[in-house]
């Protein structure tokens, strides 16, 4: 079946069976490898993307559910890593292996869009669906605070601008 999707503000059409998870459409059909597979059951958050401004697990979102909604992946945050959350991640030097970090960043972007100056407790609540096997949680917290401080106004979700 053909589906019309809006990924990172671009209209694309893909041919896939309706129950195909958005994750695998992004990775294998659209060649957007930034979104990662970790568990396939909504347990790890490695596959987090934004859909209609909300953080969703793309392993549990089917391509048919995504049709017609604005989807933003890590590749769509900025063309050059200049999104304030990406900048903060770089300044704080968050990643160890880095595998979870696209999902962490997408959850953080969604959090900051709704809560521009989150407390530690709000960060913990919003981020506890994202596992980091390497244990970079202290740094993630620090980077979210930094992104909130530097530029709450620009920590927006690109899809929302259109």
């Amino acid at each position: 079946m053909a589906f019309n999707l809006t990924i990172n503000q671009k209209a694309v059409s893909v041919d896939a069976s309706p129950d195909t998870p958005l994750l695998w459409v992004l990775r294998d059909e659209l060649h957007l490898k930034g979104t990662k597979y970790g568990c396939g059951l909504g347990l790890c958050g490695a596959c987090t993307v934004l859909m209609g401004g909300q953080a969703v697990r793309s392993c549990l979102t089917t391509v048919s559910e995504a049709a017609g909604k604005a989807v933003v992946t890590i590749e769509g945050l900025s063309p050059d890593g200049s999104h304030p959350v990406q900048k903060a991640w770089e300044t704080v030097d968050v990643p160890q292996c880095g595998y979870c970090q696209a999902g962490q960043i997408m959850s953080a972007v969604a959090l900051l869009a709704s809560t521009p100056h989150p407390t530690d407790g709000q960060i913990d609540d919003a981020m506890s669906g994202n596992l980091c096997r390497c244990g970079t949680y202290t740094r993630i917290r620090q980077a979210i605070h930094q992104a909130a401080d530097t530029s709450a106004s620009t920590a927006a979700i690109p899809a929302k601008k259109i």
Partner: protein, 766 residues
């Protein structure tokens, strides 16, 4: 990850002694620069670690005409930061600005780069000397080129930020301008080239961001799972839920009709097992069914329709509960092996004023790297090309060559960034599977394991059962110690990572001491998990030390210091190994634990955590533990609060570590230690269980790891710099956190956790 394991797996260390008959070949680079390629004559392997490999600078460094310096990162990057840290060493001695350096991942080529192994926290010990000399030799060549250009003595030239300077005449030349000439010079003897005084370091000891971070935060394809080749297909591989089960029949024809499925076939496998225990080479091919489709989701969807009749004859259908019962029985009998015996342990125990006795145990656990196992392979005209996430790609290649019968020279291996190693990828079963599938279909294929494959077919951290007894005299001094380790294996042979070294603390520090080992058979693969052995033994020993200290009526800190001050040990310890203070060479590693260094970190952590004045209020307590492993010394204090429902919250952790004279990349080092703490906390409440030979856990909900809200709000890391050789950091911070938290829980509640997971004692994370 143990040193022993490396020696076992790679008997001939790839320590290359470069003869002074190198040929340097110049290759024109686009843009007019020069690339130095070396074709080295390889002489006999060096005998000891002290004789570090001497490697050609030209293999590691490319200098373009515009002065851009490219440094090759030789080891697999598994999140330990080695892709940044090893080039930092070269760049320091080369004397270039870090921001002018580009880093490139080297392909597998151990003849050129030396061993390319990420394990055992050994990358720094194995590469410290050689990479210093690589950078310094290149710098020396550039100085010589400049001196010849100017007609001045080499001794009048110096370098700074990628330029050679002749101060007397106010002349300078950039490395880019000198590269062509330098490439034609005879290599100086790398052992005699001058090295920088560490006081002059501008890169080592200064925090540098991870070299891949910009690519990570923008979602660039970097990891093994991201590889994409033209015409590539996707594969899943279904193995028997019971280790070693073979395929009797499968509904392959039905699968072939499913959307996108191109191939479905059975694989007979190449398992070699030993009687009494599974001990396959880490590359062995297990039997199973391969499904190859246009997309991974199609292959995975087809797998849901797969129905296999497995032949499990010859497999042992074991159950976790039986292990515990069997271990208990064995603990009552006389031990099968004596690993160490000094004085009269049994007699002294009988006559001790006080005897403390306890039984400890811990379960199998899984690695669960966040990136599941996988490899991409392409087979064409007898040649195999692979993109992999192995921590030991060299032995992976060897295994593939043997099992598939492809000559090693026809196999090319590229190293991808790895989404977590933790020791899982020291074994290379997934590499062999991918190669087999690609060869069978003669096309590029990406094999990706599902999370369920990963939990079901790990090389698990082995469970263990330990029985300890300590005898105290009237004054509360330890006079006897008996340690019986019931583990897996057969006879005196233990399953992988199920061993206990005969210098486990406090061996050597107690006059009457015995260490025994009894093994029972096992039919599941085991292997090293970050700080193998130590991640379990530290929990057991340091929890028991705490019990003994309390029984002796002593403060746990003072008690440990007293044990470590055993005069006999101090007298025999080779203090002569201490290198010249602060100098990088000679690079000498102490052969065993140095008690004064362990005391050093204990004292530092006590001071930082204000141990002496620690508060004791009901429900809140502090615990202390220390451990030496992987050449590193760590002491850790945890403060916990336990609520009425036995939910544990770790409020703060203080860490003191001694890994020698340099912390090469301080911010990354702190991150790595945070990781060790969080990882150790996860291990306190994880468990893999077997039911009829099958692993029961399938995904993260059944083998939980720490989440952000459970992570300690504060983790304070202190490094104690000492004059000893700089060593590795991937592992040694992990082991002490388990007993530090268990001891803190005891301080808070009076309940001693002697068995993991801690849920068995009624505790859970808040």
């Amino acid at each position: 990850m143990q040193i022993e394991r490396h020696d076992m797996k790679e008997p001939k260390r790839k320590a290359l002694k470069m003869e002074r008959r190198d040929f340097l070949q110049l290759t024109a680079l686009a843009g007019g620069g020069l690339m130095l390629r070396s074709f080295m004559g390889v002489a006999a392997p060096a005998q000891t670690r002290a004789a570090a490999p001497v490697l050609s600078p030209s293999a590691f460094i490319r200098i373009a005409a515009d002065g851009t310096v490219t440094i090759l990162a030789k080891n697999p990057e598994i999140g330990q930061g080695i892709k940044t840290v090893l080039p930092m060493i070269i760049a320091e001695e080369l004397d270039v600005d870090w921001k002018s350096v580009k880093i490139e991942q080297a392909d597998l080529d151990e003849a050129t780069y030396g061993g390319q192994v990420s394990g055992g926290s050994m990358a720094i010990p194995n590469n410290w000397e050689s990479l210093h000399r690589v950078g310094a030799t290149a710098r020396q060549l550039l100085i010589t080129a400049a001196a010849q250009t100017w007609g001045v003595p080499v001794s009048q030239c110096s370098t700074t930020s990628g330029r050679v300077i002749h101060a007397a005449s106010h002349r300078s030349l950039g490395y880019g301008e000198l590269a062509a000439k330098a490439a034609n010079l005879t290599l100086p003897d790398p052992v005699n080239v001058p090295l920088k005084d560490p006081k002059q370091y501008k890169i080592i000891g200064h925090s540098q961001g991870g070299c891949d971070v910009p690519a990570i935060v923008t979602g660039k394809p970097l990891f093994g799972i991201d590889v994409e080749l033209p015409g590539m297909m996707h594969a899943v591989f279904q193995k028997c839920p019971v280790y070693g089960g073979r395929v009797k029949s499968a509904n392959l024809d039905e699968l072939l009709k499913m959307p996108g499925v191109r191939h479905a076939f059975t694989v007979a496998g190449s398992l070699a097992t030993t009687p009494g225990g599974v001990d396959p080479s880490g590359s062995a091919l297990e039997p199973g069914v391969a499904i190859v489709a246009d997309t991974w989701w199609q292959a995975q969807t087809a797998r849901k329709k797969l129905s296999v009749e497995w032949d499990q004859s010859g497999c042992l259908l074991q159950n976790s509960k039986e292990f515990a019962q069997h271990a208990e029985t064995l603990s009552q009998q006389s031990p099968a092996n004596t690993l160490r015996s000094e004085g009269d342990p049994e007699g002294t125990l009988k006559n001790s004023a006080k005897v403390v006795e306890a039984a400890y145990s811990y379960p199998f656990i899984a690695h669960a790297t966040l990136e599941p196992q996988g490899t991409t392979a392409s087979y064409k005209d007898g040649k195999l090309e692979m993109w992999t996430t192995s921590q030991t790609p060299g032995s992976g290649k060897k295994g593939v060559a043997q099992i598939l019968g492809i000559p090693p020279e026809n196999i090319t291996v590229h190293l991808c960034r790895v989404g977590g190693g933790f020791g899982r990828r020291l074994n290379n079963d997934y590499m062999t599977e991918a190669a087999w599938i690609a060869k069978t279909v003669s096309a590029p294929v990406k094999l990706l394991w599902s999370r369920e494959d990963d939990f079901g077919h790990d090389f698990y951290r082995p469970a263990g059962f330990q029985y300890l007894k300590a005898g105290l005299d009237q004054s509360g001094k330890v006079v006897a110690w008996r340690h019986h380790f019931v583990t897996f294996g057969e006879g005196s042979h233990t399953a992988s990572s199920a061993n206990l070294k005969n210098d486990v603390f406090p061996a050597g520090y107690v006059p009457n001491y015995a260490l025994y080992m009894t093994a029972m058979p096992l039919w599941v693969k085991t292997g090293p998990l970050r700080a193998p052995g130590d991640n379990a033994h530290a929990f057991v020993v340091e929890s028991f030390v705490d019990e003994v200290a309390i029984a002796a009526g002593k403060d746990p800190l003072a008690f440990r210091i007293e044990l470590l001050q055993n005069p006999a040990i101090r007298a025999t310890f080779a203090e002569s190994l201490k290198p010249t203070p602060g100098q990088p060479m000679p690079y000498k590693i102490e052969p065993r634990m140095n008690p004064s260094r362990l005391q050093g970190v204990l004292q530092l952590v006590a001071e930082k955590s204000n141990w002496k004045n620690r508060k004791r209020s009901p429900g809140t307590g502090m615990g202390l533990a220390c451990w030496y492993c992987h050449l590193g010394y760590f002491a850790e204090v945890a403060e916990v609060t336990v609520n009425e429902s036995n939910q544990v919250r770790v409020n703060k952790v203080w860490i003191a570590g001694d890994i020698g004279s340099q912390i090469i990349n301080p911010r990354a080092a702190e991150n790595m230690v945070h990781g060790g703490i969080i990882d150790g906390m996860s291990e306190m409440n994880q468990e893999i269980t077997l039911a009829n030979g099958q692993v029961e856990q399938t995904n993260f909900h059944q083998h939980a790891m720490m989440r952000m809200k459970q992570a300690p709000p504060e983790i304070e890391v202190h490094f104690k710099k000492t004059d000893y050789a700089t060593t590795g950091l991937g592992e040694p911070s992990l082991p002490p956190i388990l007993p530090a938290i268990a001891n803190a829980i005891f301080a808070a509640t009076g309940k001693r956790i002697r068995s993991l997971p801690m849920s068995g004692s009624g505790f859970k994370w808040a």
